[in-house]
Symmetry: C2
């Protein structure tokens, strides 16, 4: 399988150089020198012009030209011609709904899984690359036609994974409790909790944790496990984990 993915937890890391600052080296290694133009998908935020400007400025500084899909006359055609894709963060429900509304889900799947163009996602853009958006943190501000996402990997991710604060007096469910509730439902796949600062590199059937923070893995009926940056997580790419 040609699949190449860079699935980032968060676009901006506290104190790490602004938008995409903490992962710029990994971005350059991922897209390399063969990709000249990246197709940016700003659908997760309301102000697409402003969002495209932010992404364009940053990626230009790394040596890439950016086409924003919201400026394309035909978004499906834009995906067909793309050398590489970057879907940015924001609201995951809004993003997934717009991908379906514009008939882009199967087209992106085809380009990434069959043609092997590199796909980078951040936050919501990482959620939509997985089995489903069942483990997003976002508010359901719109109703997508399904929670099933692009399935570029056979598990789910929880971006911005947050450890329980033992001093908190807030009684809302912790992140871990929320993921455990998901695993009370039948057929729920594993969930990789990517803390801010971490990202997953997938190349074919090999998956590696990159970045500066550990990831926490939740599987149905098993204790959670911790994984250090640099860990080989290829076992997650086997269906049915």
């Amino acid at each position: 399988m040609k699949r190449r993915l860079l699935l980032v937890s968060n676009s901006t890391l506290h104190g790490a150089g602004g938008y995409l600052g903490h992962c710029q080296q990994q971005i350059q290694e991922f897209f390399g020198e063969q990709v000249k133009r990246i197709l940016f998908v700003p659908y997760a935020l309301h102000d697409r012009d402003s969002y495209a400007k932010t992404a364009r400025e940053k990626l230009q500084s790394l040596g890439y030209e950016v086409d924003s899909i919201h400026e394309a006359v035909d978004p499906v055609e834009a995906v067909r011609k793309a050398q590489g894709i970057f879907i940015g963060g924001g609201n995951t429900f809004r993003l997934l709904k717009t991908l379906y509304d514009n008939k882009l889900v199967s087209e992106i799947q085809k380009r990434v899984l069959q043609d092997g163009i590199p796909y980078m996602g951040s936050s919501a853009g990482t959620n939509v690359a997985t089995v489903s958006i069942n483990t997003t943190n976002d508010m359901p501000i719109v109703y997508p036609p399904t929670l099933t996402a692009m399935g570029l990997v056979p598990f789910n991710i929880n971006p911005h994974y947050l450890d329980t604060n033992p001093d908190s007096k807030h009684m809302g469910e912790t992140r871990e409790q929320r993921i455990r509730q998901y695993h009370e439902e039948p057929d729920a796949p594993s969930v990789l909790g990517l803390r801010e600062g971490s990202m997953l590199l997938v190349e074919g059937n090999r998956a590696t944790l990159l970045g500066s923070t550990k990831a926490r893995l939740f599987s149905r009926g098993k204790p959670a496990t911790e994984h250090e940056p640099g860990s080989d997580l290829s076992f997650l790419l086997t269906d049915g984990v």
Copy 2:
């Protein structure tokens, strides 16, 4: 309109006497002495038996017998015969889906809005009483047939409303940012952010904020406003706010 609702932000308040401890006086004033039996709806949690036991013990201590709907042969018939209803918290998506699966939405609407039986909700049980669950904090662990809820009031609520922590290094959206994103969508109604410790009492066309904390109100295109316990919020019951 006969409507009587007690919409509580949270079932358990830190340091305030355990499950429903912080609102037990309001519960007794709300259900009064005429209601002898309360129909409890435990659908938001996976372990319904355990949840019903918790609710039963607490409500019995306040003088009410509890029938849990998950023990009824015919849940619709249980709603038809109920003297009062309490829907507990947990996962809002799971709760709303189960209410639709069991054809209870229209039946509860009828009993509350036409027959005037008292309805108490806590957390997820408060979300489903409003226009929609678009402003829940919960993870979308299942896919309900719609996000439209029972519409017992013409606005939305965000339970467990949480103020922005200026010291946080976490880059996920704040609660206020999430609600603002909801208001970027067309036709989104006002959202009452009920901090933990607060609750809304609705009697006919009168709404009053009760409890120990302020509430924060968000309306599309307007600055947020703060409301003290005891405030008259009846203006929220006018459609189209």
